[in-house]
């Protein structure tokens, strides 16, 4: 649509200006601001967990078992008397790690496959596109369940599986964007000058699809974080280490809700919602800022 933001190469000072403008637009966007604050907070407390967690997450009996939230234990305790809040903070490290890394790897794969799919017209492009479409047939979560149950449930296995299975949908989006960028004059002129395909893709196409790739990547992380929680919840994650999913797995096994210990299930779950929501806010704000639609309050006037 709008080509005002797209340029060929560009001098570095121009790019810096564009980045500053983008940053300003992003941070004045309500979703972007809120999302960044929320995301920053969540990342910070996860990374700083060893410093700010009130208790050792593995320590049994630091409080009475199944004690409701109180001043000493903001999220209450679980069936072994462990502090739920501390476990949640530490659990975030694994869950966020899995979610972010899987999202990055999946987006990388989606870009490596999606760009050629959109760039190459003719047979090659069609073949790659067909490969992407065929991959959409396989229900990702089903495969995750199967692989996690058999290939072992270590953290890196889960990351690998999630990355391998979530790339097709972003690949399609990236392909679509590549297709539209490809039609631009400067791409064709570089082609006419005899540049190699690879060079064109890297220097002309890539910089212009990067906004879409980035926004998409953040949104993929939402999916991978939720999937990690689901896998852990089913008991297929690494139950020896604390993650948000495995916490809820134990809560479910001990029938937390029906035995009245609602804090054990509801609060960590709500934490996941907030974390995922922060990613979504950031991702959709990015999308709004980078792919602007005509900003009109009512579409009737002109």
């Amino acid at each position: 649509m709008s080509t005002t933001e797209e340029t060929a190469g560009g001098s570095s000072s121009r790019r810096f200006d564009r980045f500053r403008r983008f940053l300003r637009a992003f941070l004045t966007n309500r979703k972007g601001l809120l999302g960044t604050l929320l995301l920053g907070t969540i990342v910070f407390i996860s990374v700083a967990a060893p410093l700010i967690a009130p208790y050792d997450p593995e320590a049994y009996g630091v409080g009475k078992a199944l004690a409701p939230p109180s001043v000493e234990h903001l999220f209450g305790t679980d069936d072994l008397g462990r502090d739920v809040l501390s476990r949640f903070l530490y659990g975030g490290r694994i869950s966020l790690l899995v979610g972010v890394v899987s999202g990055v790897v999946a987006t990388l794969a989606a870009t490596l496959i999606g760009v050629p799919a959109g760039y190459y017209r003719g047979r090659v492009g069609r073949w790659i596109t067909t490969a992407i479409d065929m991959s959409l047939v396989f229900p990702p979560f089903v495969l995750v369940v199967v692989f996690a149950a058999y290939a072992g449930s270590s953290v890196w296995n889960i990351i690998l599986i999630l990355s391998l299975l979530s790339w097709p949908i972003p690949a399609r989006t990236i392909k679509a964007k590549t297709l539209s960028v490809r039609e631009n004059d400067f791409v064709e002129s570089t082609e006419a000058l005899g540049a190699s395909d690879f060079r064109i893709m890297r220097q002309e196409v890539l910089p212009n699809i990067l906004p879409v790739v980035f926004a998409n990547g953040i949104l993929q992380m939402v999916y991978t974080i939720l999937m990690e929680a689901a896998v852990g919840f089913l008991g297929l994650g690494d139950t020896a280490r604390i993650s948000w999913g495995t916490m809820l797995y134990f809560a479910q096994k001990q029938a937390a809700l029906s035995s009245g210990a609602w804090w054990w299930m509801i609060l960590p779950g709500f934490g996941i919602v907030l974390a995922a929501f922060s990613f979504i806010l950031v991702g959709s704000a990015l999308d709004e800022v980078l792919n602007p639609r005509l900003q009109r309050r009512t579409w009737g006037d002109d």
């Binding site: 979560f141 089903v142 369940v145 149950a149 809700l257």
Partner: protein
Amino acid sequence: MANTSSKKAYIATRVRNYLAAFAAILAVNFAIPRVMPGDPTTRFVGPGFTEAARQQLLREFGLNKPVWEQFLLYLANTLTGDFGVSFARYPTPVMDLIVERLPRTLYLMGASVTISVVVGIPLGAFAAWNFGEREDLFITQSSLFFRSIPTFWLAILLVFVFGYVIPIFPISGATGSANHPSFFAYFVDLTYHTVLPVVTMSAYFLAGYTFLMRGSLLDILPENYIKIAESKGLSERQVLFGHAVPPAFPPVLTQLGFQIGRLAGGAVLVETVFSYPGMGQLMFEAVLARDYPVIQATFFFLAVMVLGSMFLAEILYTIIDPRIGGGE
């Protein structure tokens, strides 16, 4: 005429792609249990389990033949509907389990998709129509929020609120009893039991379609032909439903096709939490029990269901958008 033959060529290409996808399903399905570490006999391991007994078991299940022979056997069996016998529920034929459960999962997924589309799309249109207004902001923020909720957590929440606190919906099973006086009674009972699972599954995707439709419509509303329609003096409703919504619809439909795979995955999760005896729950139990024939069969049928749904979505898309497949 170039029009008809290029349309035929287009259909031929699409059908070819679907056949290729089907072949891929067959191949992947065969490969999965075989690349997994360990083999089915590991679940029988015990003190008296000698190597000879293990070989006997392998022979019984045909696992000691060379791979290519196994593959041909697998193809023949799959295409004739013979999926063998379940390890865990020996000697129930796997096909029996599938036949019993497939309709239930189909119903669950079908109901979820229908509700997501029927509620989500108008909601998205409404939001786009009131772009920037309070209604739009509310709908948009709520949709984003619902996309952040883990499906299983929502399921547990619903089980807790409507199963325990205010017990108005059943929280497990597909039907209350095995016998029903009529099909209608069965349908009612089934619907009653699936309210919570369907709501759980729909929440995530409904939010998605709302957002998609809103975005799609927002791309179209500034277009010239909308202004022309307006200036012709048509009512707001006529412009919206007659000129704006129809072109906004196809992109949402295509996205629907892609997302069905993720919907099938959601079914596994939801069925497990709600103890809903469908394909998803069967697959999960089979995975835990290392019941290979059942794993293969459920994966096959789930993938085929996804393929079928994508095909249906594409047909719908072609019917709605006559520009595809033909014309200059």
